[in-house]
């Protein structure tokens, strides 16, 4: 296995330390992000997902433990954050709210310009980034930022971060608030992006279905600690453990789980709709099902 792009070890962080309002957000987190993979970070609200993400690009510094981006140590105050941000780029929730320039291309150019790159290079990056999100610069570059639709604005914000050309893209709930088509498009974009070069994505989300679809590995947080870790298949196969943490399993797992409970199917680790279809087809063929009671799965 090649060297990790990001390595987190024993990370601890407390908000407002030393005051009566102190809250320990991270209590010793360790995991790593390797080139070419998508790491999904899930956990109930308050488990420390956002705090963890903010450590990955240096917005927050570890109070104990280490966060290494390549050979840069983020616990060291002297580390140049600019260098970190050329490798790890963070996209917040509702990123369309952060657009401030009048014209789209200028907003996308903000990040690279702040890095101090020459204008020609910035222009090239803007074109590449906007193409990558499906908003070609020739058409959308000179449009008014506030004149785009919500979904377009979100993609423009993503372009602004992609223009930093990081190795690792860190996303906090990137699909929240999008309609199903918007979500599909965004996920497809991200798939395309990570397939090029040895890039990695870290994705924090409540949307289990999406994480199940995209993630190679999953880290489950609970109250600032890593509760579960493994490949997506491993983690989502642990239905009981996830339920105990108050996390809803992906829809596919819920349906299959109900069928397993009714004794109609053997347990499996199918994660996606594609994998579940053959299993369900095998059911349809049977004619002796009769009036077997199947527990209902509520629509979520």
């Amino acid at each position: 296995m090649s060297a990790p792009l990001i390595a987190v070890r024993g990370l601890e962080y407390t908000y407002r330390p030393g005051t009566p309002f102190a809250t320990a957000a991270l209590r010793g987190i360790s995991f790593a992000v390797y080139p070419g993979e998508v790491v999904g970070i899930i956990g109930p609200t308050g488990s420390g997902k956002s705090t963890l993400l903010q450590h990955l690009d240096g917005l927050l510094r570890p109070q104990a433990g280490t966060v290494r981006v390549g050979d840069l140590d983020l616990a060291d105050r002297a580390t140049d954050l600019r260098a970190v941000r050329t490798r790890v780029a963070l996209l917040f929730q509702n990123p369309e709210d952060q657009l401030f320039e009048q014209y789209v291309a200028d907003d996308v150019a903000y990040g690279p310009l702040q890095l101090g790159l020459p204008r020609d290079e910035v222009r090239a990056r803007v074109r590449r980034a906007m193409a990558a999100v499906g908003l070609p610069a020739e058409v959308y570059g000179d449009r008014l930022t506030q004149g785009l639709s919500g979904g377009e604005r979100r993609r423009a914000a993503l372009a602004g971060v992609l223009a930093l050309e990081p190795q690792v893209l860190v996303l906090d709930e990137p699909t929240v608030g999008l309609d199903p088509r918007g979500r599909h498009e965004l996920i497809a974009l991200l798939q395309d992006w990570r397939c090029q070069a040895d890039r990695a994505i870290v994705w924090a989300s409540h949307a289990m279905d999406e994480v199940a679809l995209l993630a190679d590995r999953v880290v489950v947080l609970d109250e600032g600690r890593v509760a579960l870790e493994g490949t997506a298949r491993e983690v989502f196969g642990r239905d009981a453990a996830l339920a105990a943490l108050g996390l809803e399993a992906p829809a596919v797992r819920q349906v299959l789980g109900a069928l397993v409970q009714a004794g109609l199917l053997p347990p499996s680790d199918a994660l996606t709709v594609e994998e579940a279809v053959p299993l369900l087809e095998s059911l349809v063929g049977q004619s002796d099902l009769g009036e077997t009671a199947v527990p209902t799965v509520s629509a979520s």
Binding site: L59, R85, A89, F92, D97, Q98, V161, L164
Partner: protein, 297 residues
């Protein structure tokens, strides 16, 4: 402490629901009582009144079961001001004239003269400030946001008959108070999001235009977020049948109760006491009292 923690100071006073007698008063009484008290302190300051104010404020804080430590913590941001005020008073007060007029020369070191009158004046001002901060702590401790807004609306309602848009103003107040934490959080998110893109807002470099342009990534989205939320709220209100304040009734009806009458009576008494108390040239009385302490007892 996170440097991005914008909201920290916005929670000026904590609501401390200790269920005391003061908490159960009508919000209008809470507001009027404390407002009158604070006004009296600011307008009628004198050394004895400031001291009386301190005693009363502490008594009220105790009655409301506010921990002393909490009240004292509210004074912390004032400390730099105390130092500034001291320096200003030492330098700008006409000390020599006061000494010539009979005041005590507390300090006479070369060209620097500090008179007793000057110090007493400084002490009065600082003490009055302390009292006002205690009162504010008291108010926020015994009245939460909904209390305060009901109180203000209730107080302003009689003015509605004179054509004063009381309903609109109190609605505006409620909405503004709701927006403050929302926009504070938005600002915090913007700080982080733009910093993640390399934004450097505090940089002290370049001409005025450059510095201002550096703040645009924060300010423009903040205003836009506020305007967007306003649109959403207007739509939400109108689609729920809001057509203005005419004929609207409240779910919570404010009613004065015996406890409120007692409270008002006590406020009246305190007010009278305040006006009456003022033992002549304050400086002498304090000086006498001190002298008496040091020599006699």
């Amino acid at each position: 402490m996170s440097e991005f923690d914008v909201l920290r100071f916005l929670a000026i006073g904590q609501y401390l629901p200790s269920g005391s007698v003061l908490h159960r008063l009508d919000p209008r009484v809470k507001l009027t009582g404390i407002a009158l008290f604070a006004l009296a302190l600011m307008l009628l300051a004198s050394p004895t009144r400031a001291l009386l104010g301190l005693v009363l404020a502490l008594a009220l804080l105790a009655a409301a079961r506010v921990p002393l430590g909490h009240a004292l913590r509210g004074l912390r941001p004032l400390l730099p001001l105390f130092v500034i005020a001291l320096v200003l008073q030492v330098l700008f007060y006409p000390h020599r004239e006061a000494v010539a007029a009979g005041s005590l020369a507390v300090l006479a070191w070369g060209p620097l003269v500090v008179s007793g009158a000057g110090l007493v004046g400084l002490g009065t001002m600082l003490l009055a400030m302390v009292d006002v901060v205690f009162l504010l702590t008291l108010l926020t401790a015994i009245a939460d946001v909904s209390d305060i807004t009901h109180g203000i609306e209730g107080l302003l309602r009689p003015l509605q008959r004179l054509g004063f848009p009381a309903h609109e103003l109190s609605l505006m107040l409620v909405v503004a108070l709701r927006f403050v934490p929302l926009l504070g959080q938005e600002l915090e998110r913007l700080l982080k999001a733009q910093a993640a893109r390399g934004g450097d807002f505090g940089r002290r470099q370049g001409g005025i235009v450059q510095r201002v342009r550096r703040t645009l990534p924060l300010l423009v989205p903040l205003f836009l977020a506020a305007l967007r939320r306003s649109e959403e709220l207007v739509e939400a209100m109108e689609s729920r049948g809001y057509t203005g304040g005419k004929g609207r009734t409240n779910l919570v009806r404010l009613q004065l109760r015996p406890a409120d009458a007692v409270a008002l009576f006590l406020v009246g008494c305190a007010g009278l006491l305040f006006l009456v108390v003022d033992f002549g040239p304050a400086e002498e009385s304090v000086a006498d009292w001190l002298r008496g302490l040091l020599t006699g007892a």
